[in-house]
């Protein structure tokens, strides 16, 4: 039997990026907030000091800060005819664990989705006619215009470094001319670029594209955010993605929110506490709180007036399924919602090998890059192309740590003398041009509970059924040659193209941009949450994170994740608290 604890106003399940956002706003509004976090406490001085943060083996290859698969993992298969097997060790994506979540070891590439991304179904149908059979793309139910102030605020909390391309409708030179209108310039100027970005920029311009500096959460200068917290200039150490920052130079919950939060008497955080289920009242009309387990295996019932799921899309979906909230998605009938529209990201690219010039890619940062958006979203005419959506194409200088990154030209074997010498000859001389493609929802890609494999508490693992769709493949086949063309214009000796081939492979790292499963929308028959990220079933349950995305756009998710969290918490404070109940009537 779970021990009963005293109640709080709000319980947050998970304390990463979204947990920190909800906690800050809700405590500021006077509520008593408790965050329950599965992993340990983590902060800069203790856990990623500059005396040991730069450890590639420990943090990436031995998963120093990620969730341990032994705790819980997902099972995976490409299609429902196969038997899903557990990901015994993480590969394609790396779920975070501990205070700060993945916000500790993200890159900080901080893009807004395009206005058309939020209305992907209605926009594309209006322009190109009905979506093909099986494509379950939907509108968000919230628009870019509504989210704009929240994008702006999240970017100020983070101190994002970039250049506006569209200020209140005016196109500004040097920025991204395709972006939605911004109410304000970025809080900080773009990072200083290196040789590879300079070459990319010139090559992209040459073929008539519009390069702009990637909006970065790695600081271009010292910055004080709206909560009074200070960030320091990035030192381009190159140990950014998959690592914590020892310099206070990367925006994370630790650097931008938590120190302010920890001073507030109405906030508490319990670490090493894994939430097992969301509890419902006897009549099933609301949640009463959550049950969690500590590291001794003892379980507790934590009552709360409001519960917010901030546990990352995969765990948010699993908790809803385990707690039997909302109708599970059934791919055969297409009915049900929880687990529906799981999407990912469609990556491909080209590597440039230089002869004389040195790219010195160890001088880098997680979000140091130049990009073009000419082929993203609906920024180009899709008539007759047979797909919707697109992606950005970027040249980042990041991750040039030698275990992870030692590219060799075409035809070099995988080991032995020839391999070793090719690694040596090219290590300081490569640049990469990547396509960051959208992933459109399809009826056959979804999440549910595995019938066989369980976690250490004996509860079913989440099962992922996913493969790249026809839309994904056509999109990638259309955009990869553009990346190749830019790469060929960068002045190297050789270009090796990495096409998107075959089925989705869960082994090589791609991105930790898992989306869907708890999608938002306009209709309880087709979505889990309403436009305020509130559960259609239990009005005092809110859901955060990229699980809300009905499909994934051609960008990294976190700016949109942050904006949605601020939008939702605003609705809680300004509307829900005055009149607790559904914020959208059905």
């Amino acid at each position: 039997m779970a021990k009963q604890l005293p109640g709080v106003d709000v319980v947050l399940v998970g304390f990463g990026w979204t947990g920190a956002i909800y906690a800050e706003k809700l405590t500021n509004a006077g509520l008593d907030v408790l965050a329950l976090e599965r992993g340990p406490w983590r902060d800069t001085t203790k856990d990623f000091a500059t005396t040991f943060a730069q450890d590639e083996l420990r943090y990436y290859w031995r998963h120093g800060m990620f969730q341990e698969a032994s705790q819980s993992t997902v099972t995976f298969r490409n299609n429902s005819a196969q038997t899903a097997l557990p990901m015994r060790s993480w590969g394609s994506f790396l779920p975070g664990n501990g205070v700060g979540g993945s916000g500790v070891h993200w890159n900080g590439q901080t893009y807004r989705f395009l206005p058309s991304d939020f209305v992907a179904k209605s926009h594309n149908e209006e322009r190109y006619g009905p979506l093909p059979e099986g494509m379950t793309v939907q509108d968000y139910g919230v628009t870019y215009e509504e989210l704009e102030p929240h994008f702006d605020y999240f970017e100020k909390i983070c101190g994002i470094c970039g250049k506006a391309g569209n200020l209140k409708g005016d196109i500004v030179a040097g920025g991204n001319p395709f972006e939605g209108p911004r109410s304000d310039e970025y809080p900080n100027p773009p990072m200083e670029m290196t040789f590879s970005q300079d070459r990319f920029e010139a090559a992209a311009r040459n073929v008539g594209l519009n390069p702009f500096p990637v909006p970065s959460a790695n600081m271009s200068r010292a910055y004080v955010n709206p909560l009074g917290l200070q960030l320091a200039p990035c030192t381009y150490c190159g140990f950014c993605e998959k690592h914590g920052c020892g310099n206070y130079s990367k925006s994370s919950p630790q650097t931008t929110i938590i120190p302010a939060l920890m001073k507030r008497p109405n906030f508490a955080l319990r670490t090493d506490s894994e939430v097992l289920s969301i509890e419902k009242s006897a009549d099933g009309s609301r949640t009463t709180g959550v049950t969690y387990v500590d590291t001794s295996g003892e379980s507790f019932f934590q009552p709360a007036e409001i519960v917010v799921l901030c546990a990352y899309p995969l765990e948010n979906t699993r908790l809803m399924l385990l707690s039997q909230i909302g109708k599970p998605y059934d791919p055969r009938s297409g009915e049900g919602v929880v687990g529906k529209n799981y999407c990912y990201q469609v990556m491909s690219g080209a590597t440039v090998f230089f002869d004389k010039e040195y790219t010195n890619s160890f001088v880098g940062a997680g979000a140091l890059g130049m990009a073009v958006d000419d082929y993203n979203g609906d920024n180009f005419d899709h008539s007759g192309l047979g797909f919707i959506g697109g992606g950005y194409i970027a040249c980042y200088t990041t991750n040039a740590r030698p275990i992870e990154s030692h590219p060799v030209p075409e035809g070099v074997p995988g080991w032995g003398s020839d391999w070793k010498q090719a690694v040596q000859a090219n290590f300081l001389k490569t640049a990469s041009v990547g396509v960051h493609g959208a992933s459109m929802a399809h009826r056959s890609n979804y999440l549910d509970l595995d019938p066989t494999y369980t976690d250490r508490h004996g509860r079913p693992l989440l099962r992922m059924t996913f493969d790249f769709t026809l839309n994904d493949r056509r999109l990638s086949a259309h955009l990869t040659p553009v990346a190749e063309e830019i790469a060929r214009g960068m002045g190297g000796r050789e270009v090796v193209v990495g096409e998107r081939k075959g089925s989705y492979d869960s082994v090589p790292y791609q991105t930790t941009h898992n989306t869907g499963g708890t999608i938002m929308g306009t209709d309880p028959q087709t979505s889990v949450c309403n436009r305020y990220c509130q559960s259609w079933d239990l009005p005092n349950l809110f859901v955060a994170g990229a699980g809300l995305f009905p499909q994934n756009a051609g960008y990294n998710p976190t700016d949109t994740v942050g904006a949605l969290a601020y939008w939702s918490v605003d609705a809680i404070i300004n509307t829900y608290l005055g009149q607790p109940g559904p914020l959208v009537q059905t």
Partner: protein, 244 residues
């Protein structure tokens, strides 16, 4: 903005010694409640370094593994796995949490999966090595009447190629899975920080021009394609820095 009355009520419930249980601090930690960022001395999480007592490989296994690594990353125009002491790295890895698969999900049933489903062996890395090394020895003795370590380099390469291209298979474990794993681990040992026993004296970093664990390149951002040459540094510093 805060509501002090409600706070007081809740605090009374939490700390007032009522019948309601509070979670034990031993098994979960509680932070916040206005106390600011927690801090206590000696709470850093530096990596362990020094020689591990434990060693996993038997002398014969160690000789075979060293010979495999030496062919995967040979000594030719520069140092290879032998000079980097990759076998010591592997021995320590296999003796530790990685070799035991301690952080991996190792519950059954174990089924053969598709390539896109990744590692599905019921053996954690260290056990896989052990079984595969026995099978490799049997294969080499049957085929060449000598252990792998005693074969000529050409023959060693042929055997490794056979494993890589799935022409040689083992009965009990997958030869290909073993090959892929030892190749991955050898590359890790060659390029990881010397703190883990391989990349001795940073030979691999020096060979490719990687300056290691430096933390500030702001002076070099504008290199404009010119080579940046810097002596590497490891988490242990570097030889010239250490006191005698």
């Amino acid at each position: 903005m805060f509501s002090p009355t409600r706070r007081k009520v809740l605090k009374a419930l939490l700390f007032g010694g009522t019948a309601i249980a509070a979670p034990s601090a031993l098994y979960a930690a509680e932070y916040g409640r206005g106390e600011g960022m927690p801090w206590s001395p000696f709470r850093g999480q530096p990596p362990y370094h020094g020689t591990l007592e434990a060693s996993f490989f038997t002398p014969a296994e160690r000789a075979t593994v060293a010979a495999i690594c030496a062919r995967l990353i040979p000594n030719d125009d520069g140092p290879g796995a032998t000079e980097a002491d990759v076998v010591t790295f592997l021995d320590r890895q296999m003796a530790g949490f990685y070799g035991r698969g301690q952080h991996w999900y190792m519950q059954g049933p174990f089924l053969e999966g598709t390539a896109t489903q990744g590692y599905q062996s019921e053996h954690p890395p260290a056990q896989l090595y052990r079984h595969a090394l026995v099978a490799l020895d049997v294969y080499c003795r049957n085929t060449y009447e000598a252990g792998f370590a005693e074969l000529s380099e050409d023959r060693q390469d042929a055997v490794l190629k056979g494993l890589d291209e799935e022409e040689i298979t083992f009965a009990k474990v997958s030869a290909k899975t073993f090959f892929d794993l030892i190749l991955k681990n050898t590359i890790e040992g060659f390029f990881a920080d010397p703190i883990y026993g391989g990349n001795r004296d940073m030979v691999a970093w020096r060979y490719i021009g990687f300056p290691g664990t430096r933390y500030d390149y702001r002076d070099f951002v504008g290199h404009d394609g010119a080579r940046i040459q810097l002596e590497p540094v490891s988490l242990m510093g570097r030889s010239g820095w250490n006191s005698p």
